[in-house]
């Protein structure tokens, strides 16, 4: 909240009292974001100091570098223009720089310095882990989970919390605050009046969403600690990555480590909530829970989870050779985990029922589709989002109807509202770009040595911020063994592209290029 207040103060300063310094929206936002990230590094450094005390220095000095750089950028710059290209550049470059600086703790701590791993590979793995964290993807290059200290592992969890929060803040608050932006895009996609603006003031909206996010995280932590009796550390660690639908866990076998149905049930509920539009949660907290039922996207989301979970349970029960109870537990947990783009796994080891790589092909195919679909708009999840899928289905059906009745005026509807044509067009453009990126990514990653099934699932999973892939990169495997170093860097880039919903990452070059062109 302080972050938002400061940002708003800076904005008003810019409007009413322009002072000297470099005028760059991108550098300014980057500075604020880095300062914010440094705060998390210091807290986890303190935790590390108080517990395992192995990686304290790594976290502390990373925090110092991050804060220094962020502070300098913040105070040495002031917001410049807030045209679309500037906003995209601000968001895109901020995420790239935060990801790179966020890799420092892993690098300094030598997290990936196992036998035979050179410095370059350590850098690659650190960037991959950082990108996977901030983008809330949940893929990992870690092989030895005993190596990092508890503080560093908590930092890894916190990166996902930042990522989930960051996307909400950047998308819902920061960008509209600057004039135009990510959630402006998303809001514009919403049928009719925006359902995501909780108040006329964007900063108020952001505060409320922030409050909801924090409350939700605390609630998951409390329930995890009290109900199934997880330790406070585990409760907090998993609450951070449940609220953000990130999927990191301090354990190599993820939730399978606990082998507890109660924990899995709590997390299932948490993931479903995390995949829902946060505006609905705020309204529900205000005593208006009917927003859920009225929202066609939420209904579609729940229907999708129920149908896919039932189908997967049926498939692995009948064809997979598991008992009904085992199939129910493995099926529902993994479907919800992947349907919300979280990426937790409940496999207790390779070959256990939760290892969906071993499921029948149809169940794996459904998982692959879930990786593309994602959950609701306005949530912390990734993927194309249910609303876009719904609108695009309507768009396709309209095209067919138009061939039968060429002169008919047929609007595309979402629920009871007609969707504006430019929004339908934008969604179609987004979908096509998404497909184009998947194809390009698969060709690149296979060219860099990835297997076909692994590359398809990893690219789809990275763009959808899912986490585990299929084949050799399944829920019980590490990406460092399944993909080459350059391929991991490509996947890290795709994670950021997916998290920012393509446009900011693709258009972030527009402002610098325009600036260069203007100067020349």
């Amino acid at each position: 909240m302080k972050f938002m207040r400061l940002l708003e103060a800076r904005r008003s300063t810019e409007l009413h009292h322009r002072r000297g310094g470099v005028r760059s929206t991108a550098l300014h936002v980057m500075g604020i974001a880095l300062s914010f990230v440094a705060f998390g590094m210091f807290i986890t450094a303190a935790l590390e100091w108080g517990s395992t005390n192995r990686d304290t220095a790594a976290l502390f000095w990373s925090g110092v570098i991050c804060l220094t750089l962020g502070g300098l950028l913040w105070w040495a710059t002031q917001p410049g223009a807030a045209r679309s290209r500037d906003v995209f550049a601000a968001v895109g470059w901020t995420w790239v720089v935060v990801t790179l600086i966020g890799a420092l703790p892993y690098l300094f701590a030598g997290t990936f310095a196992t036998n035979g791993v050179g410095f370059i590979e350590q850098v690659v793995n650190s960037i991959f882990e950082s990108a996977s964290g901030y983008s809330c993807t949940g893929s990992t290059a870690l092989l030895e989970f005993d190596r990092p200290g508890r503080g560093l592992l908590m930092y890894r969890q916190a990166t996902q919390w930042y990522g989930g929060m960051g996307i909400v803040v950047l998308a819902v608050a920061v960008l509209p605050f600057l004039g135009v932006g990510g959630l402006d895009l998303m809001t514009a996609e919403a049928p009719g009046p925006s359902s995501d603006r909780l108040t006329p003031r964007v900063s108020e909206t952001a505060k409320r969403l922030w409050a909801t996010y924090v409350l939700f995280t605390v609630a998951v932590a409390v329930v995890l600690t009290v109900l199934p009796g997880a330790s406070l550390y585990d409760g907090v660690a998993h609450s951070l990555t449940t609220a953000s639908t990130g999927g990191f866990s301090p354990y190599g076998d993820s939730i399978g480590h606990f082998d507890s149905i109660t924990i899995e049930v709590v997390l299932i509920v948490g993931m479903v909530i995390g995949g829902t539009n946060f505006a609905h949660h705020w309204r529900a907290l205000q005593g208006h829970p009917d927003g859920y039922v009225r929202d066609p996207e939420f209904r579609g989301y729940i229907l999708m989870l129920v149908v896919v979970a039932s189908a997967v349970v049926g498939l692995i029960w009948i064809d997979g050779g598991f008992g009904f109870g085992t199939a129910l537990r493995a099926g529902v947990f993994n479907v919800v985990s992947l349907g919300t783009s979280t990426g937790f796994g409940n496999a207790t080891g390779s070959g256990s029922p939760g290892d969906f790589v071993l499921w029948v092909p149809a169940a794996q195919m459904m998982i692959l589709f879930l990786m593309v679909t994602g959950a609701c708009t306005g949530s912390t999840s990734g993927g194309i989002k249910v609303m876009r899928i719904q609108v695009l289905i309507g768009h396709s059906i309209r095209s067919i109807k138009r061939d039968q009745h060429p002169r008919a005026v047929i609007p595309v509807k979402h629920g009871r509202h007609a969707v504006a044509e430019d929004i339908v067009s934008r969604m179609a453009g987004f979908f096509l770009l998404y497909l184009l990126l998947v194809l390009t990514g698969v060709v690149i990653v296979t060219a860099l040595g990835g297997g076909l099934v692994e590359s398809i699932a990893a690219i789809v999973g990275s763009l959808g911020n899912m986490g585990p892939a299929l084949g050799e990169a399944g829920p019980t495997a590490s990406f460092s063994t399944a993909f080459s170093q350059p391929a991991r860097l490509v996947l890290a880039l795709f994670m950021l592209i997916g998290r920012l919903e393509i446009f900011p990452m693709v258009l972030m070059f527009a402002a610098p290029l325009r600036a260069i062109r203007d100067r020349t």
Binding site: F88, Q364, M365, S399, D403, E421, L452, V453
Partner: protein, 502 residues
């Protein structure tokens, strides 16, 4: 004759005193069966010198289908204005009629006694898909040529549908010049003339291709069979190893004619009329050739020790959606496989015998996505998507995107159903895409298109995909829409019932 009746002959004018019933669909079915009967009869007559029992079976089927087809042509006439839906349903009905007749041939000649195998083989033939369950070593020459003829008819059907029937019925969904007139970008002043020209080019190419094979030493039977299945982009072969054991010359002939078969018939018409400038200026053609060159280079880079000829052949086979093979490409490295998959999905040029999304559509989709990207920077900007110096209007783009999104959706649904019957993930995805492109082979079926690996259920599931690939995805989509409508109606009824109970 209206534009929409282009595939149907229309026949002679109605005689005085006899009213001919107007029906586009039935007339198209009659036309298709008539064409089928002529080809089957010719094969049957030739077969009298080869295998008499098979010849008699062919002649009897030819008699029945010819009776239905030619009677239908005499009794029916095309509608003056046929709605697009009727055009599509007519084309689909004609395709289904041919498939059923083809199935009867397989059963009656004793090539197979399994109805599902016969149905699959016939559907693969008329959809120009290179998948088969039969052992071609057991075929007589007559049956080899008849089987190849099914692909030849299927190819002709696809080209006529794409060049004559669909553009006028569904303006914009196929990006080729529209309407009829004297301008050079129009193939013919009337559909009847257009049809004659298309069939002329198609037959001429077949003859040239056959001659090429003959000269390069493929043998008479194999030359005829491969000529019929090259120009149609079918991919059926009279050899179990496709063209792998053929000489380099024959492989080169196949490569050239596969690439030509994947070209737009408009471009071929311009080339024949020596309007070389117009031919060379076609942006779709240039993109098509660029894809071929780039994919070949990519294969050369990604597959160790692959000869240039083999790489070019594999790409030509994929881009034209033919399905021939000269080597087992399924064991290529993943990078090469992903390139081939992208090429198969893209497919050939519009208005060609090939399938796939089509180069022009893919380019327009990319342009459309680029436009939306630019609009993010400036929402008020007006950017026009162009195709060969022609602006594509928003309505056309809307239809294009709607259809192509549905195309991807159908591929996904197809892949899921294949996975449901136990096909592995990659084979399911690849086969669904490949069948919608009318190519066929996938990693699970092997490079030579052995469909037995897909299982009986999997093969049956592919038949609707073949129809969608050859005709258009519209029949399948209409079926889906009608299912959705039924669901909506049922939901409304349930809600009404609940309300009344309250």
């Amino acid at each position: 004759m209206t534009a929409n009746s282009a595939v149907s002959s229309g026949g002679p004018p109605a005689r005085l005193g006899r009213r001919r019933r107007q029906s586009f669909s039935r007339l198209t079915v009659a036309d298709a069966l008539a064409a089928f009967s002529v080809v089957t009869a010719l094969c049957g007559l030739g077969g009298l010198f080869d295998d008499v029992s098979e010849a008699l079976a062919l002649l009897s089927i030819a008699a029945i289908t010819g009776g239905i087809g030619f009677t239908g042509r005499r009794m029916l006439q095309p509608r003056r204005r046929t709605p697009p839906g009727r055009v599509v349903s007519g084309l689909a009905s004609a395709w289904i009629a041919m498939v059923v007749a083809g199935m009867a041939v397989y059963l009656l000649t004793g090539i197979t006694s399994q109805v599902d195998d016969a149905l699959f083989e016939s559907a693969a033939g008329f959809s120009t898909t290179a998948l088969s369950t039969l052992d071609v070593d057991e075929f007589s020459t007559t049956m080899h040529i008849w089987r190849a003829s099914t692909q030849w008819i299927g190819g002709a059907f696809g080209v006529l549908a794409a060049v004559i029937a669909l553009p006028s019925a569904m303006r914009g969904s196929v990006q080729i010049p529209r309407g009829h007139g004297r301008r050079l970008d129009r193939l013919a002043p009337t559909p009847a003339v257009g049809r004659r020209r298309v069939v002329g080019i198609y037959s001429g190419l077949t003859a040239l291709c056959g001659l090429g094979y003959l000269v390069t030493g493929l043998g008479t039977r194999d030359s005829v069979v491969h000529a019929l299945t090259t120009v149609s982009t079918g991919g059926f072969s009279s050899r179990t190893d496709s063209l792998a054991s053929a000489g380099t010359g024959s492989q080169l002939v196949a490569t050239v004619f596969m690439l030509v078969a994947g070209m737009s018939y408009f471009a071929l018409w311009w080339a024949l009329r020596r309007h070389s400038r117009r031919f060379l200026e076609s942006s779709e053609l240039r993109l098509y050739l660029s894809i071929v060159v780039l994919a070949t280079v990519a294969l050369l880079v990604s597959v160790d020790g692959i000869p240039v000829g083999d790489a070019l052949f594999s790409v030509a086979s994929a881009v034209s959606t033919t399905g021939y093979a000269v080597s087992d490409w399924t064991v290529y490295p993943p990078a090469a496989l992903s390139i081939l998959l992208v090429v198969v999905a893209t497919g050939s040029m519009g208005a060609s015998a090939g399938g796939g999304l089509r180069v022009a559509r893919v380019r327009s989709l990319v342009d459309f996505a680029n436009r939306e990207l630019r609009r993010q920077l400036d929402p008020n900007s007006v950017t026009v998507v162009m195709a060969d110096e022609r602006a594509i209007d928003d309505r056309e783009l809307e239809r294009l995107t709607g259809y192509q999104i549905a195309h991807f959706g159908l591929a996904a649904v197809g892949a899921f159903f294949l996975a449901l019957v136990g096909v592995d993930l990659i084979t399911a995805l690849w086969t669904a895409i490949s069948v919608l492109s009318t190519a066929g082979p996938a990693p699970g079926t092997g490079a030579f298109g052995d469909a037995t690996a897909l299982g009986a259920d999997g093969r049956l599931l592919l038949i609707p995909g073949m129809l969608a690939g050859r005709v258009t995805i519209l029949p399948l989509l209409l079926a889906l829409v009608s299912v959705l409508r039924t669901k909506d109606r049922a939901m409304r009824r349930v809600k009404r019932m609940l309300r009344s109970r309250r």
